[in-house]
């Protein structure tokens, strides 16, 4: 039994009576989900609702010569058959660029392909019918004549003069390019005692949310209003985009997000088929539902991480890192994804490479090229797993080359814990990190010396175990620097409205969204603590643009750090307002009173003065008894946005212990550890579970997951039998440890924790495999995922 103890909080400014900050309280809304009573968008049905199925291009690149829909239109249950050209009259196209990514370009993308399909899986025609099965039946009756065009499927040759250009209007296949040259890189390499070069490959993979993307759009022509039930991370962003591309005002669009079956960054983008579904509802004046099935998900949910990085590190014989250099090439889809763009991932690779280390010399190049494959965009820990794999892979290869212990080389180069604020060579501003303390914590936690001794003893018996590490930094709590400055209507601020109801209970409305990470629990903990009630007196409402404050939703590990701070402040403000009412009722000074456990008390003695139920009764039903001119304000809203720092960076270090079967190439994961620093921990259980889930997603990338394409742009393994994901039996237990360096930008001091696990795990697994195989003189493995075949090839056995 390992159910996490409800640890008492460390005394701090946050430690009010009834404080839930730092406590592992269970999420208040879980019974709905354990009893099968959740409401996911795929569960939503509305009167007159029809279902849409999309006929999708079987070719990676093809001209659409003709579409014959007569037979489909006559099929049972069919409401409408709609082509891209017809839907283009309802909805305008979009272009996925941001102004702060200098030079980024893309082509206009329509909700359904018009004249040309640019990847296998792009929707080319829609069938709306009374049931999904009828819509799929009718899809089979549509006759499309294609003229197949050459497909661009190799990033290495995408920019060659002989390669066809996917979008003629753009001139070439280059979406985005960035270069950086800081310090004296050539001189630093020349003065190094050892230089290590390697080419890292991170396999194209995808989110595999358990619930496919889902949307139910309901255009009410009589109200001229669009209601969209949408499994999204960012309801207000989608409200803006639906309105913009349907030529409506935002007030005509309401986006509701209910339970979401996994998101991980997959559900924070604009998908052509979801946009088309909304447009179809407008066209047909009735509710239309679309749920991506698993096969569709594999060829249309954003892919990520398809990078090839040539990388180089210099070190002195004392283990001082002298320089990093990288050349990153990434092949995205035929379009940059709207509105966050497909340039951010490569941009992050440049920003984050070398991030934990105090090394002033850094040269980087990244090129993002178009491909006739499914689109790529931001997925959990955007860019981090790639940058961490490159950085930490190089650091451990360099350590091996100079014969230094992998933790020792890190100790000699990590930014000093007392050296903040600091700035990385790429220009990232770091408020306060704790690399050395985290490393020391991990060293003790894993019993490093004991583990090395065990490893050595087993090697003598022909058992090859490896220990690998990965230090990392993680972007959390993003300010407007992430998207707002680039012109996207993606807000970085968030709000919370807190209301005292007529029985003295609290309702919170928040602009962040619940995707299962526990945001609603964190919001309830913040308000219960700052206001002064028990958790069972707090109800949380999220995911409704009609009723919540304008907010960014859930992405970039922002819900707790930004949404939580807004909720904390709103709870505090409401406490002030309630105490003003109490003061008027009790003829006391509000500053002499406090609220504890739903009761107004004397601040110094704790003596009970007034229940919140009685206060609410008077304020709402007998305001005539309050002093003349006094107005009770029992609903307040507060917003918060990080201002002092563009991002609240977190840090951490992971360790993996694994065994490689050198005859079969199979890897058995024995144990995994992560020590991280996300500032103030609001709920230690939820933080740990974010870490664990994130680690396993990273392990998937390291060992199993890859979207395989052939040279014609056909995805070869787009189903769950062929695309492997981590299942319970292959996964290890994962131990978590913490260091706490709060951000001074907010009163709570909380930073994000949602992506740290995914950021570090792939590098950690890679380093452990290479550590295991080092005595066998295997070629270092740097090409993810590390399948048994690749391991046997590295050992020279096949």
């Amino acid at each position: 039994m390992k159910i996490t103890a409800d640890t008492p909080p460390v005394l701090s400014v946050l430690d009010r009576p009834n404080s839930y900050i730092g406590r592992a309280v269970p999420r208040p809304n879980l019974q709905r989900l354990t009893q099968g009573r959740g409401q996911y968008i795929s569960d939503v049905t509305l009167p007159r609702m029809a279902h849409v199925a999309y006929l999708r291009s079987p070719h990676a690149h093809a001209r659409i010569v003709s579409i014959a829909t007569d037979a489909a239109k006559k099929a049972p249950g069919v409401v409408a058959v709609v082509t891209g050209a017809e839907l283009a009259k309802v909805m305008t196209p979009w272009v996925g660029v941001l102004t702060h990514l200098k030079g980024i370009k893309s082509a206009p993308q329509a909700p359904i392909a018009v004249d040309r399909a640019c990847w296998q899986g792009e929707a080319v025609c829609a069938v709306v019918a009374r049931t999904r099965a009828q819509a799929e039946d009718a899809c089979e009756l549509i006759d499309i004549v294609y003229e197949e065009l050459p497909a661009v499927t190799n990033p290495e040759t995408a920019l060659d003069p002989g390669t066809p250009v996917i979008h003629e209007s753009l001139g070439d296949n280059l979406c985005f390019e960035r270069k950086l040259d800081v310090g004296e890189v050539d001189k630093a390499f020349a003065n190094s005692d050892a230089v290590v070069e390697a080419t890292f490959v991170t396999g194209r993979h995808t989110g595999v949310c358990t619930e496919g993307r889902a949307v139910v759009a309901d255009w009410n022509a009589s109200e001229q209003r669009m209601t969209v039930y949408h499994a999204t991370q960012a309801p207000h962003m989608m409200q803006n985009l639906f309105a913009k591309h349907l030529a409506l005002s935002e007030s005509q669009v309401r986006v509701l997000t209910k339970d979401v079956g996994g998101s991980f960054g997959i559900k924070v983008h604009t998908y052509a088929d979801e946009m088309a579904t909304v447009a179809l509802s407008k066209l047909l004046k009735r509710p239309v539902k679309f749920v991506a099935d698993r096969i569709e998900s594999f060829v249309t949910d954003i892919h990520a991480r398809d990078h090839r990085i040539k990388a180089k590190i210099g070190v002195t014989k004392d283990g001082v890192i002298t320089a990093f250099e990288i050349d990153d090439l990434t092949g995205i889809g035929p379009y940059s994804v709207y509105p966050r763009t497909s340039g951010i991932e490569a941009n992050q690779v440049i920003n984050l490479t070398g991030g934990p280390y105090n090394c002033p010399n850094y040269r980087a190049q990244a090129r993002v090229v178009f491909q006739n494959k499914n689109v790529m965009c931001q997925y959990r820990a955007v860019g981090h797993p790639i940058a961490v794999a490159v950085t930490e892979g190089l650091v451990e290869l360099a350590a091996a080359k100079i014969g230094m212990d992998p933790l020792e080389i890190r100790r000699r180069n990590l930014f000093a814990d007392d050296g903040y604020p600091a700035q990385t060579a790429s220009g990232l501003k770091l408020e306060q990190l704790s690399h050395h303390e985290a490393l020391a914590h991990l060293d003790a936690m894993i019993n490093y010396a004991g583990l090395r001794a065990e490893q050595k003893a087993l090697r003598d018996k022909g058992i090859y175990r490896g220990i690998g590490f990965a230090s990392f930094i993680e972007v959390t709590n993003p300010s407007a620097a992430f998207y707002g400055v680039g012109g996207a209507k993606i807000t970085s601020q968030d709000g919370a409205t807190v209301k005292l109801d007529a029985q003295g209970a609290i309702t919170i409305h928040s602009g962040v969204t619940e995707q299962g990470q526990g945001a609603e629990a964190v919001l309830a903990q913040c308000v219960a603590s700052s206001f002064g009630v028990s958790m069972d007196r707090v109800r949380v409402v999220t995911g409704d643009t009609d009723n919540t404050p304008y907010g960014g939703g859930t992405w970039a590990s922002r819900a707790a750090g930004i949404g939580g701070e807004a909720a904390w402040q709103a709870g505090k403000a409401l406490r002030g307002n309630v105490l003003a009412v109490a003061g008027a009722m009790l003829q006391a000074k509000p500053e002499d009173l406090d609220i504890r456990n739903s009761i107004v008390v004397d601040k110094t003695t704790g003596a009970e003065r007034l229940g919140l139920d009685e206060l609410a009764r008077v304020a709402y039903f007998r305001p005539d008894t309050l002093p003349p001119g006094f107005q009770a304000e029992l609903m307040v809203t507060r917003h918060y946005v990080p201002r002092a720092w563009p991002f609240a960076f977190t840090n951490g270090i992971q360790a993996s212990y694994l065994e490689v079967d050198t005859d079969t190439g199979f890897v058995k994961l024995l144990r995994h550890w992560c020590v991280e620093d996300c500032g103030t921990i609001i709920n230690p259980q939820l933080v740990n579970e974010q870490i664990r889930g994130g680690v396993v997603q990273g392990i998937g990338a390291a060992l199993f997951e890859q979207c395989l394409y052939d040279e014609r742009g056909q995805m070869l393994n787009g189903n769950m039998a062929d695309y492997l994901v981590p299942m319970a039996v292959e996964m290890p237990d994962i131990d978590c440890g913490h260091v706490v360096s709060p951000t001074a930008d907010s009163e709570l001091g909380a930073k994000g924790a949602g992506e740290a696990g995914t950021a570090g795990a792939p590098a950690c697994i890679m380093n452990a495999i290479n550590d295991a195989l080092r005595p066998l003189n295997a070629q270092p493995l740097t090409d993810m995922p590390f399948t048994p075949g690749k391991i046997l090839r590295a050992l020279g056995k096949v």
């Binding site: 039994m1 390992k2 159910i3 996490t4 269970p26 999420r27 879980l30 019974q31 709905r32 989900l33 354990t34 009893q35 099968g36 009573r37 959740g38 409401q39 996911y40 795929s42 569960d43 049972p76 099965a133 039946d137 989110g207 595999v208 949310c209 358990t210 619930e211 339970d259 979401v260 079956g261 996994g262 998101s263 991980f264 099935d293 698993r294 995707q515 299962g516 990470q517 526990g518 259980q685 939820l686 579970e689 664990r692 889930g693 994130g694 680690v695 396993v696 997603q697 189903n719 769950m720 039998a721 994901v725 981590p726 299942m727 319970a728 039996v729 996964m731 237990d733 994962i734 696990g757």
Partner: protein, 161 residues
């Protein structure tokens, strides 16, 4: 097009008689025709386990079985297993241990775990991992689920948690 078939079965203790399309899967039938949306559709090819339910006492994939095969069967979904109280301690352990995040896999995961627990002995962590390896969870990384199932196995055998 497909033909229709009459079936009579018991679902969560309730007698049901319906006419179904021959091609309709069991999970589509319980979700779309009976409104029991606790069984989830994750992959429709038998890999993810989100549609795990019980038919005549045996756990099955609702997507790999046709409704038409269930004539005369006793079907139990998460709604019935919840209402009867059979899963109450396991559900409480999942909630307490945060052994679910988005919750989409949870009804299937609970049903699969209960199948293991019903075998009567206290399984090892490895046995728990093996048994739930037909149920894909993308959120938790499985550690918390193994903890929760292990704690219930021990508790049901009289051990202090």
């Amino acid at each position: 097009m497909s033909m229709d078939i009459d079936i009579a079965l018991t679902v969560n203790g309730e007698r049901i008689a319906e006419r179904v399309e021959a091609r309709k899967s069991l999970v589509d039938f319980v979700r779309d025709d009976l409104g029991l949306t606790g069984s989830h559709v994750g992959c429709e090819h038998g890999v993810c386990g989100a549609c795990t339910m019980r038919v005549d006492g045996v756990i099955v994939r609702g997507c790999l079985m046709l409704a038409a095969q269930c004539d005369g069967a006793v079907v139990e979904t998460i709604e019935g297993l919840s209402d009867s109280g059979e899963l109450a301690d396991l559900q409480a352990a999942f909630e307490q241990r945060n052994a679910l995040q988005c919750g989409f896999c949870t009804p299937g995961m609970l049903t699969a775990a209960q199948d293991l627990l019903n075998r009567g002995s206290v399984p090892s962590r490895d046995e728990i991992r093996e048994h739930i390896s037909g149920n894909f969870c993308r959120c938790t990384g499985y550690h918390a689920i193994v903890d929760a199932v292990e704690s219930v196995a021990k508790a049901r055998h009289g051990a202090k948690p």
